[in-house]
Amino acid sequence: MNTGRPASTRLRWWWVGGSALVLAVVVVGAVMVGPIALSPADIVRSVVDRLPFIGLDTGLSDRSEAILWEIRMPRVVLAVLVGSMLSAAGAAYQGVFRNPLADPYLLGAGAGAGLGATVAIVYAPATSGWIIDPLPVAAFGGAIGGVALAYALGYTVRRGRTAVTLILAGVAVAAFLTALQTFLQQRESDTLREVYGWILGSLNTAGWGEVSLVAPYVVVCLSVVLVGRRLLDILAVGDTEAGTLGVRPGRVRLIFVVFATLGTAAVVSVSGLIGFVGIIVPHTVRLLTSASYRVVVPISILLGGAFLVLADIIARVAVAPAEIPIGVVTAIIGAPFFAVVLRTSKGITS
């Protein structure tokens, strides 16, 4: 009699190791690239120098050190956090809604954040002397508010509270909030460029401030999705059978939506509405490895971070010194890549 799991159902170490390696390589590459060239050796030496109890002569000038630690590093770290969070949130949404097209903005988080950001840009411009920047706060609140509204609407449906009623409620809320946002944006056309730039997403303003603002949310939310990912596989057999296995589908759905939304709201509040990551990364992982959420969630976290760092390199370099909005890059490199994966694999799995 066999004693272990069959090989194909394990979270294989080379999937984890390979993804971590890809992430590491892309991160070092992103830190190297820019108007001032830094070698991988410089970067590794400088990182080691910053470790506690270790002092090294890094051989870098103060200026290079500053570029490395004050400009490039926070931006790369933020890209990792945003990419990981959006990918894990996308996987969680696809799981709880049993819908391959679900993404973190499905229930109105994107539309809510967009409306919040537009309100902040129009009524509280950055120059108006607020102590805290109102833009991320408004975007964060808007995202949470949008999803809360969708959930409330979904729960008022008398016989239902199913995944489908929630999705439909989300569609209604998103359409409504987007309409309000568009109305506001058209009326205040002098802020159009700024609003539009925010919606397409950017990591341009990234400093350690943004990283420390977002990191706690991302760490907590990723941990919850990671630890609870087995429950996503149980929901795959349908709400009725999941119930007879001792799991409350409604409660599981709520927990995942709360944490996926909280994390998504935190990252979009500083990066804008970077699209496509939450759909393409989990699906690519499914096609390359396994459809089990035991595998999909951790690998999506690693490769989602790597994907967004890569997209940000292209956003910075392609038309330097100008930048392409990162949301454009994720779609331009993501869509063809996804198409190739789709064609060369056995088929789409959800």
Partner: protein, 264 residues
């Protein structure tokens, strides 16, 4: 392992229509109760009360205690359920699918133990699925998916198995195999089986007792030869039904007569 299941005075109302009224039926430990009746009679609804998927009045008792008084998890340790059209998630290995049966024994965040893994292999072995362990459950044939569902039921180690149309859409041979496997679980492990079953011949040959349901109410409950009679089936289904004895086995068929040709 006991497994006495009692439905008493079950009423289910959907909107303004009454789907079940005052349904009372009980099942002894280790017994196979078949629930038969026309489409829309309320067979699935009755079974779904156990799954907690419909709200009902009346009571469902397991070993004398109402299931509503137990936590969902405790319930899952007592009753395993397979729905009429189970979802077999694409990309999920048969092993992982069967492993879902261990869910009631795991903490919300705990991983499976060696014991859980061993139980899954045992279940796969009992349902002749060991060689399918890493196959995608969505690529199995009809009979194989039913066996995968039964393996999940077995891994769940519940004394009662509730199966809503376990053999719908299977060919004759696959249907026979699945029914024999269910009966083996019942006789070898003492599992109580409650199944909605549309094939009257199968009900007559496999079920120890049969409940005939029509328009939300129980018409008759008893041994197959008492319930599956030409008179009762003729009233509930159509008059052209014949109950035939073939070498000691009961066969129930609907004849095409001049009368039925005219009727349709």
């Amino acid at each position: 392992m006991k497994g006495v299941l009692e439905f008493s005075d079950i009423d289910v109302v959907y909107g303004r229509s009454r789907v079940l009224h005052e349904v009372s039926v009980d099942v002894g430990a280790g017994e196979w109760l078949g629930i038969v009746g026309p489409n829309g009679a309320g067979k699935s609804t009755l079974l779904r009360t156990i799954a907690g998927a419909v709200s009902y009045s009346g009571s469902v008792l397991v070993d004398g205690q109402a299931i509503d008084d137990r936590s969902l998890k405790e319930r899952a340790k007592l009753i395993a359920y397979v729905s009429q059209r189970p979802l077999y998630p694409r990309g999920m290995a048969v092993f992982d699918y069967v492993l879902l049966g261990r869910t009631p024994y795991l903490g919300p965040l705990a991983a499976e133990t060696q014991d859980d893994i061993a139980r899954v292999w045992e279940a796969l072995d009992a349902l002749h699925l060991v060689d399918f362990a890493d196959r995608d459950v969505a690529t199995l044939s009809g009979g194989e998916t039913q066996r995968a569902s039964l393996a999940r039921v077995l891994a769940q180690r519940a004394p009662i198995a509730v199966l809503d149309e376990a053999t719908a859409s299977l060919d004759v041979a696959a249907q026979h195999e699945v029914l024999e496997l269910i009966d083996r679980l019942r006789t070898d492990l003492g599992i109580t089986v409650v199944s909605a079953i549309h094939d009257l011949t199968a009900a007559a040959q496999f079920c120890g007792r049969v409940a005939l349901i029509n328009e939300g109410g129980v018409v008759a409950v008893g041994r197959p030869e008492e319930v599956l009679t030409e008179r009762l089936l003729g009233e509930v289904f159509e008059p052209s039904i014949r109950v035939i004895d073939v070498d000691g086995s009961t066969v129930i068929v609907s004849l095409r007569t001049e009368e039925t040709v005219r009727e349709y």
